[in-house]
């Protein structure tokens, strides 16, 4: 057995079997329980991913502004965008990294369920390699694949529909109303492609796996709701443009069109700095005086910290509810 099997796969399979024995000899219950347990254990990563994703969404209007402004000047656009990320204290890879870390765990859970189902004789024989020498583990096998009206070893259309439905709901909650039509089209594609693909897979694989996907999606919906509210599921309500956004737009407008020489990028130096105004010079057309009298916000530009974005996003979510 390799390291992967010893560290992740084997414990997961044995836990699944033990859970079955404690949950009324029901493998279906064990799948649900283990999925919830794994989700809870990975909650910090999930939260990080959701928050980073939300923060990224918050920046979309500003990125759209930048695109409008520097769309033709790729280098300047990239520099401005990087500056936007730096100053808002986030990385564009921030929402992908937790996802990448979680992926092996999900694959291990998937494989554990498939192996434990032992649909084919080869699989049951293969299972023997993974078992701890606990009496409860040996006497439980093979696991009972009947759960409610389902045979967990066979595909089931109702569960496949549930997989697609819950995945769509979850996807809809996290899908932002992108300002950029191209990004909007891609988001829409993701919104439909993922649920359809997984629904098709759920029909092809044993329904034990579909049960895992449905449970996982429901848990993610609950987590997502507590962090960001209903998100994309709520009606898009036109909101008053925040003062900070107005200031950002004004700054962009004040900078004016980029000089022709700017296409080479030679005259622009971006200094990494925590001071919001530090990167601007008079040559870029920024009138510092314009912003100095705007109160404690100091905001000529972007949200300064990731947590600011989080707080603001929560306020936004709550505002329509009070109406």
């Amino acid at each position: 057995m390799n390291i992967w099997d010893t560290i992740i796969q084997q414990p997961m399979i044995n836990i699944l079997i033990v859970l079955s024995s404690y949950l009324f000899n029901s493998f279906g219950m064990a799948i649900i329980a283990l999925t919830i347990i794994v989700n809870v254990l990975m909650l910090p990563l999930t939260l990080k991913q959701i928050q980073a994703s939300k923060a990224m969404q918050e920046l979309q209007p500003k990125i759209a502004e930048l695109q409008k402004k520097y769309g033709k000047d790729r280098q300047r656009m990239a520099q401005e965008q990087m500056r936007l990320y730096k100053e808002s204290g986030m990385s564009p890879m921030g929402c992908l990294l937790p996802m990448l870390i979680q992926m092996p765990i999900w694959i291990a859970l998937f494989r554990s369920i498939m192996l434990s189902l032992a649909v084919a004789p080869e699989a049951l024989l293969n299972m023997s390699r993974y078992l701890y020498s606990w009496p409860v583990v040996y006497s439980m096998l093979p696991l009972d694949s009947n759960f409610l009206w389902l045979n967990l070893a066979e595909g089931n259309i109702i569960l496949a529909i549930l997989v697609g439905g819950t995945m769509w709901l979850q996807q809809k909650m996290v899908t932002p109303a992108a300002a950029d039509p191209r990004a909007q089209a891609q988001s829409r594609m993701m919104l439909w492609m993922m649920p359809l693909m997984f629904a098709f897979l759920a029909l092809s694989f044993p329904s034990g796996l579909a049960l895992f996907w449905v449970t996982s999606s429901v848990v993610r919906i609950v987590i997502q709701y507590y962090v960001t509210g209903w998100g994309g599921l709520t009606k898009m309500v036109s909101r008053r443009e925040p003062v900070r956004d107005k200031r950002f737009k004004r700054r962009i407008a004040l900078e004016g069109a980029p000089p022709e020489s700017a296409t080479s990028g030679a005259d622009i130096v971006v200094e990494p700095s925590t001071e919001p105004e530090a990167g601007y010079t008079q040559e870029e057309g920024l009138d510092r005086e314009t912003f100095e009298d705007k109160g404690p916000d100091r905001g000529v530009d972007y949200p300064t910290r990731l947590r600011d974005i989080r707080h603001r996003s929560k306020r936004r979510e709550h505002r329509p509810k009070r109406r």
Binding site: P92, V119, A120, G155
Partner: protein, 386 residues
Amino acid sequence: MRLRHNKGLLTKISLMLVILLVSALTLSGCIEGLQPIGWSGMALADGTLFVGSKEGRLVAIDTADSSRQWSEPLKAPRSAGGFGCAAPAGGGGCAGGPAGVAIYGTPAVAEELVYIGGYNGKIYAFNSSSLEVRWVYPREDYLEPIIGGPVVALNKIYFGSSNGTVYALDTATGDREWEFQTGDKIWSTPAVSGDTLFVSSFDKKLYALDAADGSKWWEFETEGAIASTPLVYDNTVYIGSFDRYLYAVDTANGSLRWKFIGDNWFWARPVAYNGVVYAGCLDGKVYALNAKNGSKVVEFDLGSPVASSPLLVGQSVIVATEDGRIYSLDTSNNKIKKLATIDAAISAPLSASDGIVYIHTADLTVHRIDVETGAQLMTISLKKPG
């Protein structure tokens, strides 16, 4: 790093991750023993070996010249949908999986007929010379997958199905004589001794039935499901259970004589010779146990699970490990020596004829090993040309 359209990029990366995940799921689901492939043993009659191939065909091999003859493939009740990883009743579907119905049991030969059961839930009687189907049971419908092999005795053919039922059919016509329902799946081959039929079930029980009418004489319960085939030797039934014990049960009344625990399942049927039971275990060991009291005579750690039933050839017990090593255990002095290593996993029961051991592996190949010298003879392909 330059990120022109980060939202678009993130979406694309997410999309790629999803596709990667789906591919990984599909491949891991299809390749790693989750599809029924089959591990049919071989039956020998009149110089001909009969074996069920991964292509879902009965193959007859002339041991003299290695010429082969193929039957028509067994028919699957339905085709696999989607990626086909939900184990369709006939098997097949995944890349790398079988093209036909999986066959696990060793064929049984009686007079001019060869009997074989398929994962499609049907039992077939083929003409041994033409390999044409004489009869099939059930004629119209399909039972649950048949994993164990059939056994022929008293003009009847006996087999168990994954629906938990033991069937007795007329050997000539395939008409049902009787059936007996157990509490769970039956994956083992029944054993007949005198007028008693012994059959094990996933319901953790070993049953002794009247072979004539299927009435139950006794049952013996263990702590785990039973997938292994019973061995009857010297008025005792020896059988391994998923509780890791090898049990010795009195054939007359079903009382326990002794039990011996291994470190994993006794999956394969043991063999007995000269008052000693030789049992291969999935813990990678072969145990030689006193048939009377279960005391351990000797054990050999082979380092790889023994899933294939050992074979008695003369005074030697031939054992194969899952990783492809073949050993010969001399029963006269309890010494073991390695005969050969083949480049394939071994799960099917071994067969022998004229000092040659035949090993069927999942790559559609029959390997031949000389018992005396360990020399590997030319392999025989079970793949039907064209």
